[in-house]
């Protein structure tokens, strides 16, 4: 303003009246005004638009067009010129002229006459005001220019941003608070296969569907302006025109644009990825199904034996959580020290592990583990190992079953005692892994009473005892064979459970009892709910108290010999079809075993009967032999006796006829000689015929005799031994007679040991003789009868013929050998036979001479 006042103010005077113009010039000259003039309105406007004036004085009475008011209106209507102050001068102010002037935009109005000072003062005021206004206008103009420049810059920036956004590979869009799409970029249009005009202005939900899309946008808007974090929405299906629907991940971020809340949505097309993932997922699911369907527990462990992953079977077997007992037990089993795992993690080897656990129901399970390293990338040592756990209890069961049957058959050979056998059978039913029932009862058919009688029962008598026993079994790890062996060693005692059923008997004509029904129908009966099963009587329920049980018949050779009853009344383990099958199979074996034992028992009885019958027969035969010999003797003796008697009587009648007496006595003498001879022949009657010598193996003969009699000896509790000298050469003997010799000696020895003892048959080469020896630990031979030992008809036995040793001696003599006997009463006896290894002339001669008479 100071500058405006100081400088000369340019004034334009617009007047066609010369006087007025001069008057104004005079008034203003010398007061720092530079005066310019215009004589017409057009001229004034031209000047004003070309040059700026600090004041324009306009004569209101200006003639022509434009007139004064028009000039004012024109100036004030032009923004660039509007700042210039306009003052009207007029000669007379009539009507509403003043109002019209101000209405046209005039700044001042002076009416003549006015004082000279008044014009100058008013002019100065107007100039100052105009200048101020002009500065403001200029200022505003410059500002406007700057704004325009900024606007251009902003436009550039926007274009730049849009270019960036458009060239971004990511698809994105901006939404308003209502979810209306305000902006989309190219990639998003590509994604949607749509034109911009089809997208902008529409709702996002028309293109993308997700349950919580609207909610997310709402949240994003709420968060906008605060610290809004972008949130992600995965796997949203997008609707694309022309293309298959796309699967997208959306990132929703709040933006605050010029105070307006908006939402930026970045769209990521993950269709291919999702499909790949889905394919992988499907594969994984399949694999998972396989892994889970596997009847094997799988888990992944790290070097510290932590379980990183496990399949469903694992959960099923060992529990899902670490604190479950099964899981704990599993980890316990894998808790070998590092050195055990060294081959797995260090050398990449596979290791095996087998272990056994008892389930909560007391059932033993067998597991095998295969621990295989999982290969790391880049050939580093394995960090993890896969543990494959298989339940081999079934295999173990089968092995167990075979073992069980073998045990049983082995036991059969050793133990035929019925009661013990019953016990063993039930032991197998209860203690074996294969069957493993809690309790078992054995009923046997009594043929005499025609009833099934309780014979044996095995199992705990209470739940407490059951768990104690399982605990012991688990810790001691005793096998079934151990138990059976133990049973065989221990003196037999009645199991406590048996006391509960001892004496129980079910008549076979009462089929209402399930035990009887089992026997009659010859097939297993399985009862799963005894309280509701009509096959079970109230009495049975009370007595056995088992809710679920199985009864199987013991069938041997088509005949039912009994019934086994088994239950799991303590563990409550369900009885499966497999159990029943196995039990039936076992029952068939057991039935045979029982049958065998019974048969054996009967056999024992029969053998004993046979023995007594045989004794009788032997006695009768002996009598018959005596009779036969008596007949022979009678025939041979009667004739000479009759002859002798006849002639003796004849002599008595006529003793005087000496010739006749002589003749008769001669005959009598002949006949008595004949009788003597015959007596000798009586002995020969029981004697063997002449030996037929052949060079044979004496050992073989001795062994054959030994084998023939060993069973009988064993039956009489005699321990028999064979001690053969295999360097013994062949010996010339009559084989049949040698058999008779050895047999006789064996019989004598055996008879001397009625309460059992030991017996040895021995051969040995003694120089030029073969030695055959039978030694016993029998009663011995008293010295007083020693010299009569070999006499015919001499015997100390009740049933002896007295010919055994006599014949033996004769045979040995015939062979040119000799027999020696040494005995001590109460200690035993040794008979030793010596036979020449070479045929001796003397022996043969003796034989031939005697053989001639032996034939009679």
């Amino acid at each position: 303003m100071a500058e405006a006042e100081r400088s000369t103010a340019r004034v334009l005077i617009v007047a066609d009246d010369e006087e007025l113009r001069g008057f104004a010039e005079r008034l203003l000259s010398g007061s720092h005004f530079a005066i310019h003039s215009a004589t017409s309105g057009a001229n004034a406007l031209e000047l004003a638009s070309r040059e700026s004036f600090d004041l324009i004085l306009v004569d209101l009475d200006l003639k022509g067009q434009p007139d004064g008011l028009s000039i004012c209106r024109e100036l004030k209507g032009t923004p660039r010129l509007a700042w210039m102050p306009v003052m009207f001068l007029t000669g007379a102010a009539g009507g509403d002229l003043v109002g019209k002037a101000f209405e046209a935009g005039a700044d001042e109005f002076l009416v003549k006459p006015f004082k000279p000072d008044e014009l100058a003062v008013r002019a100065r005021v107007l100039v100052r005001k105009g200048r101020e206004e002009r500065w403001l206008v200029e200022r505003a103009r410059k500002l406007a220019e700057k704004i325009a420049e900024r606007d251009d810059e902003l436009d550039d920036l926007r274009r730049f941003a849009q270019d960036i956004v458009s060239s971004l590979p990511s698809a994105l869009m901006v939404l308003d608070s209502e979810g209306t799409i305000l902006f989309v970029n190219g990639p998003l249009l590509d994604l949607l296969q749509a034109e911009r005009r089809d997208v902008v202005g529409r709702k996002i939900t028309e293109f993308f569907s997700a349950a919580d899309l609207s909610e997310m946008i709402g949240k994003a808007l709420e968060a906008a302006g605060r610290e809004g974090q972008p949130s992600r929405l995965r796997r949203v299906s997008g609707i694309s025109r022309g293309k298959q629907d796309r699967i997208c991940d959306l990132t929703v971020a709040p933006i605050d644009y010029a105070g307006v809340r908006q939402v930026l949505v970045v769209v990521e097309d993950v269709t291919d990825q999702a499909r790949a993932e889905s394919a992988v997922e499907t594969e994984r699911a399949k694999l998972n199904d396989v892994v889970n369907a596997m009847n094997a527990a799988l888990c992944l462990i790290d070097r510290d034996r932590r379980v990183l992953w496990k399949n469903r079977t694992f959960d099923l077997w060992f529990g899902e959580a670490r604190d479950q007992p099964g899981f704990h037990a599993f980890r316990q089993r894998l808790s070998q020290d590092d050195s055990w795992y060294q081959p797995v993690f260090g050398q990449g080897q596979v290791r095996h592990l087998t272990w056994q656990v008892f389930t909560a129901l007391g059932q033993p399970r067998h597991f095998t583990n295969i621990i295989a390293p999982v290969k790391s990338e880049g050939g580093r040592p394995a960090d993890q190992a896969l543990v494959l756990t298989q339940d081999v209890s079934d295999q173990e069961s089968h092995i167990e079953q075979l073992t069980l049957l073998r045990e049983l058959s082995q036991l059969l050979r050793g133990t035929l005692e019925a009661e013990r056998l019953n016990h063993v059978i039930l032991l197998c039913v209860t203690a074996g892994h294969a069957l493993g029932f809690n309790r078992a009862f054995l009923f046997k058919r009594n043929r005499e009473t025609n009833a099934l009688e309780a014979q044996m029962a095995v199992g705990p008598t209470s739940r407490e005892e059951a768990f104690r026993i399982w605990g012991e079994l688990s810790s001691q790890g005793r096998s079934l064979s151990d138990l059976v062996a133990e049973l065989s060693r221990k003196p037999h005692e009645m199991p406590p459970l048996f006391r509960q059923v001892a004496g129980l008997s079910y008549p076979l004509d009462d089929p209402s009892e399930i035990v009887v029904r089992t026997a009659l129908e010859k097939r297993p009966q399985v009862v799963t709910d005894a309280s509701r099963d009509e096959r079970v009587t109230e009495d049975f329920r009370r007595r056995f108290g088992a809710q679920e049980f199985v009864a199987v018949p013991l069938i041997a050779k088509g005949v039912v010999g009994g019934v086994i009853l088994a239950d799991n009344s303590y563990s409550g383990r369900p009885i499966t079809e497999d159990h029943v099958k196995l039990l039936s199979l076992f029952a068939a074996q057991a039935a045979l075993a029982i049958e065998n034992a019974d048969t054996y028992e009967e056999l024992q009885m029969r053998v004993s009967q046979l023995h007594s019958a045989q004794d009788k027969i032997v006695h009768a035969e002996k009598l018959a032999a005596v009779g036969k010999m008596a007949a022979h003797v009678a025939h041979e003796i009667r004739n000479p006796l009759a002859t002798i008697g006849g002639f003796a009587r004849s002599i008595l009648k006529h003793p005087e006829n000496v010739e006749r007496v002589k003749r008769n006595v001669q005959i009598i003498a002949e006949e008595s000689a004949r009788l003597e001879n015959m007596l000798k022949g009586v002995m020969d009657f029981s004697r063997p015929s002449a030996p037929v010598l052949k060079t044979v193996d004496l050992n073989a003969i001795a062994e054959r005799c030994f084998r023939t009699h060993s069973e009988r000896l064993a039956g009489r509790n005699i321990h028999a031994d064979l001690d053969l000298d295999h360097s013994l050469p062949e010996v010339p003997v009559d084989e049949n007679q040698m058999v008779q010799v050895i047999t006789n000696l064996l019989h004598n020895s055996a008879d001397s040991m009625p309460n059992g003892g030991a017996l040895t048959v021995r051969t040995k080469r003694m120089g030029e003789e073969a030695m055959l020896q039978v030694t016993d630990t029998g009663s011995g031979i008293p010295a007083e009868i020693m010299d009569r030992l070999f006499s015919p008809f001499f015997t100390t036995k009740a049933n002896g013929t007295g010919l055994g040793l006599a014949v033996t001696r004769k045979i040995v003599d015939d062979h040119g050998g000799r027999i020696d006997v040494r005995s001590q009463v109460g200690q035993g006896t040794t008979f030793t036979v010596f036979l020449p290894l070479q045929r001796s002339a003397k022996g043969l001669a003796a034989r031939v001479a005697e053989g001639g008479t032996a034939g009679n």
Binding site: A631, T643, G646, F647, R660
Partner: protein, 122 residues
């Protein structure tokens, strides 16, 4: 008096029978075996035959059959050491059965009875 044939394999027994029966007034012929007796019977007809049962070769039972086949009316006394021969039904066809003894009284009594029953005086 009668003609008797004694058949026995025992020579001294034949001598005894001959001596005793001759002294009783019989005419005694001797045969040492069954075939010998048959041969004798081809030419002679004795009133009575005393036949030993136990003989080697053809025994008395067999000889009896052959004798009776030739002449079923021939009186025969079986003379044996065995009482058991009485059980053989063939012996039933003999007229008498005498067990050998040093005392010939029974034999002589039987001879008398058989001869008497056949109308011959002893």
């Amino acid at each position: 008096m009668a003609r008797l044939l004694v058949v026995d394999d025992d020579k001294n027994l034949r001598l005894l029978y001959e001596q005793e029966l001759v002294e009783d007034g019989h005419e005694v012929s001797l045969a040492g075996s069954g075939p010998e007796a048959i041969e004798y019977l081809n030419k002679n007809r004795p009133d009575l035959i005393i036949l030993d049962v136990s003989m080697p070769g053809m025994d008395g039972i067999e000889a009896l059959g052959k004798i009776l086949a030739k002449d079923k009316t021939m009186p025969v006394i079986l003379n044996t050491a065995y009482s058991t021969y009485k059980d053989n039904f063939m012996t039933w066809s003999a007229d008498a059965y005498v067990v050998k003894s040093g005392d010939l009284a029974e034999l002589k009594q039987k001879i008398k009875e058989v001869l008497k029953s056949r109308g011959k005086d002893a």
